[in-house]
């Protein structure tokens, strides 16, 4: 094993990203799909931080992006959960297979 650097963090970030996507594809419960999206967002944050650290260590822009993404993710999660609860009320289920209204 070698000393961890940018490549290693990129590997973790990419892997986490595609794990999230895999989860998004295969999960049928809307809440677990939301969790997959959180993983995807986190992998992006990790990317920002890693590039900030290794490529432009004297700047802080990556940091700010991460902060904003976290803030927006929080808002997004809140809205998503509101939608899920609303959906649960009308469809009595939060299974994504049962919400085919987009077909029409």
């Amino acid at each position: 094993m070698m000393t961890p650097g940018l490549e290693h963090i990129l590997f973790i970030s990419f892997a986490l990203f595609f794990i999230g996507i895999y989860g998004f594809f295969t999960r049928r419960n809307l809440i677990t799909m939301l969790m997959s999206i959180e993983l995807i967002l986190n992998s992006v944050n990790l990317n920002f931080i890693a590039f900030n650290k290794y490529v432009w260590p004297d700047k802080m822009d990556g940091l700010f992006f991460t902060l904003f993404v976290i803030a927006i993710a929080a808002a997004e999660a809140a809205v998503a959960i509101a939608i899920i609860i609303n959906l649960y009320r009308t469809h009595r289920s939060i299974d994504v297979e049962n919400t085919e209204d987009m077909k029409f």
Partner: protein, 185 residues
């Protein structure tokens, strides 16, 4: 291999392993807990990169806020002890294949690119530096995005309430919610 490296690898394994479990576990509550650990692992990597403020924000917002929110909604919508339905095998295989191809493509591209790394000793930014630049109005300042995000948060707050608000004269919904509440007890 120094202790520093070992910590990094351990954090990486924690993050990826918990992430993987979080998207495959059939118990939704466990999935949420694995997500929590995965997020904590990422916070650990931030610590390891010496970005303490971001790590703190990560723990406070993600681990403390969003995960709790998710667990809360699980309580609202899920019967206790119920397993998640199994996805079709076809779908799983196809998704895994597509995801793997995309992952390979992205990784190969990223490694081939060869980013020019800068090995200057990173000045670990203090909270004061971050605060100064965040609320600065000169060309490097982030005051405008900050304000925009604050409006976004407000909008999201209002939106959540509007979406989730209970319709008054819909007796059906009320009884459903009562059912949910009783089942939770």
């Amino acid at each position: 291999m120094t202790g520093n490296d070992i910590i990094f690898y351990l954090l990486g394994i924690l993050t990826l392993g918990c992430g993987l479990l979080s998207v495959t576990s059939r118990h939704i509550f466990r999935a949420a807990v694995f997500l929590l650990f995965s997020l904590i692992g990422i916070a650990g990597i931030y610590f390891w990169l010496q970005y303490e403020f971001i790590a703190a924000v990560q723990i406070v917002v993600y681990a403390g806020g969003i995960t709790v929110l998710i667990i809360f909604s699980i309580f609202l919508t899920q019967q206790a002890g119920e397993k998640l339905p199994i996805q079709k095998l076809n779908r799983k295989i196809f998704s895994a294949l597509a995801v793997f191809c995309a992952f390979a493509l992205a990784l190969v591209q990223a490694y081939q690119h060869g980013f020019i790394t800068n090995n200057k000793p990173a000045a670990s930014p203090s909270v004061q530096d971050i605060g100064n630049q965040m609320l600065n109005v000169n060309e490097t300042g982030y005051a405008l995005p900050f304000e925009a995000v604050s409006i976004l948060l407000l909008a999201a707050l209002v939106g959540c309430i509007v979406i989730a608000i209970r319709e008054k004269n819909n007796t059906n919904n009320i009884s459903e919610n009562q059912n949910v509440e009783t089942s939770q007890k």
